[in-house]
Symmetry: C2
Subunit: 343 residues, 2 copies
Amino acid sequence: MKPVGRPRAATIVDVAQRASVSVGTVSRYLNGIVIRQPKREAIDKAITALRYNRNAAAKAMRTERTNMVALLVPGYDEFFAEVLASLTRSLASEGQVLLTHKHEGDPQTLAMAMEFFQNHRVNAVVTPGVSEVRRQVAALVEHGIPVVFFNNDVPDLAVDRVFARNREFARQGVRHLIDMGHRHIAHIGGDMREMTARERQAGYCEALAEAGIAADPRYIVGGSWNRPDAAIGIERLMQLEVPPTAIFTANYVLAFAVIDYFRTHDITVGRDVSLISFDDVELFRQMSPGITAIAQPSAEMGLAIGEVVMGHVNGAQRTLPRTLMLDCTIILRQSTRPPKASG
Amino acid sequence: MKPVGRPRAATIVDVAQRASVSVGTVSRYLNGIVIRQPKREAIDKAITALRYNRNAAAKAMRTERTNMVALLVPGYDEFFAEVLASLTRSLASEGQVLLTHKHEGDPQTLAMAMEFFQNHRVNAVVTPGVSEVRRQVAALVEHGIPVVFFNNDVPDLAVDRVFARNREFARQGVRHLIDMGHRHIAHIGGDMREMTARERQAGYCEALAEAGIAADPRYIVGGSWNRPDAAIGIERLMQLEVPPTAIFTANYVLAFAVIDYFRTHDITVGRDVSLISFDDVELFRQMSPGITAIAQPSAEMGLAIGEVVMGHVNGAQRTLPRTLMLDCTIILRQSTRPPKASG
DNA sequence: TTGAAAGCGCTAACAT
DNA sequence: ATGTTAGCGCTTTCAA
């Protein structure tokens, strides 16, 4: 007795036989090449009758191209989720499917995913540039798979790049505080191994310099994207002889550490101490007072990445790496106000 | 002059030639079958020299199996992100890569992704059961691709299921309010087309019934997962002659509508009106008072899904569909307290 | 243990 | 417009 099991999936040959045409004709039909009416219909019928389902692996093997784009992210925070959303849409309209892989910063998982995507010959790999991926990215580039960095950079790689103007808008944000009369402005920075953290801090310094305010090293704390570190930072800031009247945090997580500290120390954001943060998240809108934020152009970023990717997919030519810089938006809320006393 | 362009990627044949062995031997090496020392080393060298990168499409075509698992989600809210994280880890340890696709509830995108994954012969498709996917899921099952529903169900499909005990823990949550002395307990429900919404409401009703409290239909509002609808609901509730002293919301979005209403109407959560919500999110922890929540077992859910999937991948036998029910955890915070006056 | 060779399902010449 | 056919890169018999 022969084992029955799952019947083998119908192939293009089965369809051709059933429709009494050649496999070539079926293939053409599948690829949208015009087929005369009678055969067209016969093929159509055969496909539904056999529940034919085209084998992507076979197609990919022949054509040497897939319609997959890979996205690697450490996690799904609000910013990544938004970029992801607009990128998904943008690619879908071009017939590309975005495959997302979350690696949680684990080099092991990351390496595995990278190899996987390389093996699968995806059309492009999109990822924040972090040093952990350096080697694999180089391998991808060497194999001719375009890579797009966004949000964060690792220099000296032949990849496309899409970033927010971190420095410029950090500068503008701090300038806003200065314009309100603040002179004692502190910065809680992120992980200085990352470009975003460095650029945002640089913007802070530039703004102070422009206004002729001497940068006080004690006013710069932090150095990681972790909340506990920021908590230590804000504590230290507020215990200075002259505590700052305004604070600029390099991202939303750090801002929460500040908010938390203020809540437990009966300090009212905005009234007592001003706060502006990079990133704009739902919570900043929810809170009262609302938190003034430097919103990243997440949707535009997704769109821009999509365009860069499609440029590679369509373009026969190997173009030079491009770098796109996008503008942020400063959203004024009630957490930034003129300082209470003095000037 | 021949166009140079990107050199064709090295294949197994190239490796075999370079190592002076047969392709079969290289293939065996690649698949971890023991090769005698001299050849083993030669192959190893050839691979690195040629930067050989195995072609996944060709492999998949021959073996008729991939090491991909697909996850379809409407979006990356905290709950999905957590499930996703633990599922990714669980699968990675088994050599499977999780491919995530976000469809934002758009049936078009969803259908496209489903077809894509079917074409690519993924080992399994994991998705919340929603009616929009009915047809495609049926197609997958018919083609022998295992499907795992989680979080939400669509009945009458031969798929595996992993859910939280929504009804049971909704009941316990409401019971907690009753035990504190509340008698006027309202429910803001979700989209009743979804099982989660129905079950959570059923749990609410059961708890009242158990305590001999007559269910007042005016105390049940909502009917969608959208915040604006919930805002209308809470408004209506609080304008009743006898407004509720406690509220149970079917998820965190609805809870925020309540919190917002309270804030703008000078009602203090916990002191004036109690609040318990399904789902536990970062914000509930952040707020003061903290919001009492019924936390879903997101990590366990990811693990459980992983096991179910691997059962299919490894198991030669076609097993009967399984349904796993997981326990939630009720996390008491300051938003639930005994009612102010009366009993 | 290894080599030789037959395909997996599909596309893209090349004919007609 | 359609049929015929040669592979794409790989795994896996079958022999040796």
